[in-house]
Amino acid sequence: MKGGLVVVVATGAVAAAPLVASTYHVLLMLPFMAYAVVLLGLNLLFGYAGLVSFGHALFIGIGAYTGAFLTTHGRVRSLEVILVCAAVLGGLVAVPVAALCVRYVKIYFGMLTLAFGMVFYTFVLKFYRLTGGDEGTPFLRPSLLGRSLDAMPKIDYLVGPYYYYALAVLILATLGMWRIVHSPFGLCLKTIRDNPVKAETLGIGVTRYRFYAFIISAIYAAVGGALLGPPTGNVDPTLAYWTHSGNLVFMTLLGGFASFFGPVVGAFVFIYLQNWVMSIVPYWRLIFGAMLAIIVIFAPQGLMGLVTRRRPVPPSRA
């Protein structure tokens, strides 16, 4: 109950941010909300299925480039259509990737996902005519719920309608993921994370569940990737680069992969911390590297692990 109240208050605070916070800080909330969607999916794989992907920037790239292509070449401006196309394409690309990767675990799984991510990065970098190479592709301003908002100044668009649209997507994504992790499917994933040998003797097909978890996480990453495009108005290959995948893992560890909301908290803290550290020292990666080491050694459950401890779940909430 207390946790639910915190979530409601936090959601209210995010919704009120454009009314009370500076434009600068409101704009920082846009990548936070996009990454939060990505990380909800990534953590289905990481926290619930026990697989650490170092290649999920691939699916962010799929989502972002889908939006860019549809708006620049496809004359599609509806963000609803873009999000659906990104989700479908992300899921389709994930099928062969997942089919190969989920047969492996631990470092082998991580390295395979990294390899696929780098294949896609190289593709968008080298196929200049198609992708714009290192310059990227414009992501034209999308319409929201059938309303074209081209006449609106960009900042007003981003801190107004687009902000609330992204928040609505995040809320829907959160509700969907909450249902998934509290479903029979989610329970089976947790058994696989804890003890795959035991899970198999109960009749739970380990590879099949990992495959579905991978597809779902890729769909979330693609949707989040599509949300990253409009604020910058351009998508480029760095979105698919392996360090971007590393950042996703960092955010998840920072917030805490053992908690449902841990990755969301991680995304929020990462975005603001990165912005703050970059403003005071040029060597922000050095600072973040040290932070990662400290988290892994002293707070393996992340920030959420510092403020919560797992309590037994009563049957009505199980």
Binding site: S183, L187, T191, T201, Y209, I216, P315, A318
Partner: protein, 252 residues
């Protein structure tokens, strides 16, 4: 006949762990497999439960060839097992562990957006097994926080929660105190009657447990069946006494 194995052989490199083992288990039987360390007991259980593929021979379960089909399909066909080294889901509660078995048994694992809490069949089945195994007051305890005896009990309980037709127990009382051993076996026998289990196979070192509960005993030695008989005949078999049971049980 519910389970039958013929001419099972298993090689690890040049080492022969099982050498032509055949056995048969009928409905209503409680069969114990005994033998000294290295006799091939765990290899046999792993082959019977589909975890290990035999080098040669066949395993038939309910008149169906199941050799090497894997534990997932065997569990769905109605065969469950527990392990010598206790196997639990450390970060799941006792109730969640048994719910997982119920979800698997009822084929509900593919339900992405269904509420687990709202699935009355899964919830009631899990609570029934919790009570059957006397774990009611610990149902919200994480498995890793249970005492060793209760971890063992949970491992066995989760196999029973599949409501199998046959269950294979690899040393169900190993690592627990002498006092807990009898309690575990009594719980196990009671539970097997309640769920209508058709047969139990156990690997066990404790001869008091073996002779107290078995209808038939199969003695293994160096990968071969040394004897396959009723407990009274096994107790009188000098070869089994010399190689497996030892003087203590032989003097009974």
């Amino acid at each position: 006949m519910i389970l039958q194995a013929d001419g099972l052989r298993k090689f690890y490199g040049e080492f022969c762990a099982l050498d032509g083992v055949s056995l048969r288990v009928d409905a209503g039987e409680f069969v114990s497999i005994i033998g000294p360390n290295g006799a091939g007991k765990s290899t046999l259980i792993n082959i019977l439960t589909g975890i290990t593929r035999p080098s040669a021979g066949s395993v038939r379960f309910k008149d169906r060839e199941v050799g090497g089909i894997g534990p997932v399909r065997l569990a769905r066909l109605g065969m469950a097992r527990s392990f010598q080294l206790v196997q639990i889901f450390p970060d799941l509660t006792v109730l969640e562990t048994l719910q997982a078995a119920g979800v698997a048994r009822l084929g509900r694992g593919g339900r992405l957006f269904a509420s687990l809490a709202g699935d009355r069949e899964v919830q009631e089945a899990a609570l029934e097994v919790v009570e059957l195994f006397g774990l009611g007051d610990k149902r919200h305890t994480l498995a890793r926080q249970l005492p060793q005896g209760d971890k063992k009990l949970l491992d066995v309980a989760s196999a029973f929660a599949l409501r199998p037709e046959i269950i294979l127990l690899d040393e169900p009382t190993s690592g627990v105190s002498t006092a807990d051993k009898t309690a575990i076996m009594e719980t196990l026998v009671t539970a097997s009657r309640r769920i209508g289990l058709r047969a139990i196979i156990q690997v066990e070192h404790d001869m008091d447990i073996v002779f107290a509960y078995s209808d038939r005993i199969i003695a293994l030695h160096e990968g071969k069946v040394l004897a396959d008989a009723a407990p009274a005949a096994i107790q009188a078999d000098q070869r089994v006494i010399d190689t497996v049971i030892g003087r203590r049980a032989g003097a009974r």
